[in-house]
Amino acid sequence: PVVESAAQVQADRPRSTPPVRKLARDRELDLTQIRGTGARGLITREDVLAFAGDLAPV
């Protein structure tokens, strides 16, 4: 079996947890444009909300 390295696996998908990805999608944001500030560059909920705030100030 082909075994992907952890690095490969992570390069393939957006670097965030599933609920945060869903949050971004519900707000129609493109995760690849959001900079992650979490552990190992993980995009956090705060990153998504901050990015959304930049786009559409409340």
């Binding site: 075994v3 998908r13 599933p18």
Partner: protein, 460 residues
């Protein structure tokens, strides 16, 4: 036309107090709206009184009977003496009564105005009940559905629908179930567990034709093993009733005889004569057509639940009811597509699915862009202990997220929660695979499936 007496005005006026209607009412009250809820029969609707709840009570009694029958296999010496349908119904009715009481208390306690009687939409903002006009700044249509039949097939005598089946106080010797969809396979499963000889007639190529092909295969194999007979792929032609029972004929001339026939060919929308068309609402074969935000296009009229084309499930009704209440309150809620609504069929073995099946995924992404894995419950310790086979199937977009989870096996309906988070949150198999599941549960089979799809099965 005589003048109508003027009734109250509400922020939101809802026609029908079933799953869709009462969920809208509860959410609307939470959001500070005044709510009128028109119900001609009983709050709770089909689901509570003639649907979800009573059928699942029967299915649990069926499970208890099966456990008794198979007790010796696990060292518990049990004699199954009889099924007492009067007592089964008392149990079932007790569950319904308890939930009904709770719901009535909840609805009244929150300050929702319940208007008893049959309502009719008489203007874009008006529902008339027993000669009184009630108005709503917003109207939600939620009149639900009824057991359909086929053209020329009359219900009556020994030809019954789920409504009659749920009140029967005896067990027939044999039954023909017309229709191998959700409701048909659930009743077939109950009756078989109660010792009835069951034959399902399904015109489509297989039982539960909307499920993934792999699931269908396991269901048909297991039903066959349980001695539930079925004839698929040939349409029904007609039925004759006699003193002894019924004789059903298929279009190819084949006949089946039994004491009773249950017609379970789907549910039609309850919309006839309710003034919807006259108000300008777009209708299609009795269903109410809305945009994707459930607005009918007329005034402030919305529709929710079984009258809106799509999967007819109670929790879809809940969700749509909540959605419309939030929409009216300006909360701009997110649309949940039907495909991402979890679906459970409670026959034994249970079926649970959410998202795209393999065929749908291939249509959407292209054959070469879909990967799937089937984890066989034969490898799952808890399933072996319960004596159930089955599979957990994950479908993913290649290098992408899981887009569908499909499961079959005793009790797997309860796995739908994890499956639903995975699909709705667009998790990758790797996201799930990195979390080890609890041993020994049936749940860990989802972990194994995710690990396999991520390219690193643990026990495989």
């Amino acid at each position: 036309m005589a003048e109508q007496a003027a009734g109250q005005e509400f922020d939101i006026l809802i026609l029908g107090g079933g799953s869709g209607g009462y969920a809208a009412a509860l959410r609307a009250i939470q959001l500070g709206k005044t709510v009128g809820l028109v119900e001609k029969s009983k709050l709770g609707g089909t689901c509570l009184h003639n649907g979800c709840i009573p059928t699942k009570a029967l299915l649990h009694a069926a499970e208890v009977a099966d456990h008794a029958r198979e007790g010796a296999k696990v060292g518990v010496n049990v004699e199954l003496k009889s099924i007492d349908m009067v007592a089964v119904n008392a149990y079932k009715d007790g569950i319904v009564a308890g939930k009904y009481k709770g719901l009535q208390g909840l609805i009244k306690g929150k300050g929702i105005t319940v208007i008893e009687g049959e309502g009719k939409l008489t203007a874009a903002n008006t529902i008339t009940v027993n000669g009184v006009n009630y108005t709503g700044k917003n109207i939600i249509l939620a009149t639900g559905s009824y057991s359909r039949s086929l053209p020329g097939l009359e219900i009556g005598g020994k030809v019954i629908t789920s409504d009659q089946a749920l009140t029967m106080d005896y067990l027939p010797k044999s039954v023909i179930v017309l229709g191998g969809g959700v409701i048909g396979v659930e009743f077939a499963s109950v009756w078989k567990s109660f010792g009835v000889d069951v034959t399902i007639i399904e015109g489509m190529a297989s039982l539960v034709p909307n499920e993934d092909a792999a699931i269908i295969k396991v269901l048909e194999r297991t039903f066959r093993k349980r001695g539930i007979k079925f004839n698929t792929g040939t349409f029904f032609q007609g039925v004759e009733q006699s003193a002894d029972g019924v004789k059903a004929t298929l279009v190819d001339g084949k006949t089946f005889e039994a004491e009773l026939m249950l017609v379970a060919v789907g549910r039609g929308p309850s919309t006839a004569g309710l003034g919807y068309e006259e108000a300008g609402v777009t209708m299609d074969r009795g269903f109410v057509i809305t945009n994707d935000r459930l607005h009918t296009g007329v005034g402030n009229i919305y529709a929710v639940g079984d009258i809106v084309p799509g999967i007819q499930l109670a929790h879809r009704g809940f969700q749509q009811g909540i959605f419309v209440a939030e929409e009216i309150a300006g909360l701009n809620p997110v649309v949940v597509e039907d495909i991402n609504v979890p679906k459970v069929t409670y026959c034994d073995p249970e079926i649970a699915s959410v998202g795209l099946n393999e065929k749908q995924a291939k249509e959407k992404f292209g054959d070469e862009n879909v990967e799937s894995t089937e984890y066989n419950l034969a490898g799952n310790g808890k399933s072996a202990i319960l004596g159930t086979g089955g599979i957990i199937k994950f479908v993913r977009e290649k290098n992408g997220p899981v887009v569908g989870v499909h499961m079959i096996g005793s009790r797997v309906g309860e796995q739908i929660g994890e499956a639903q988070l995975i699909v709705n949150w667009e998790a990758y198999p790797e996201d799930v695979a990195s979390l080890i599941h609890a041993h020994p549960t049936q749940n860990e089979a989802l972990g194994e499936a995710a690990m396999a799809l991520a390219g690193r099965p643990l026990h495989g």
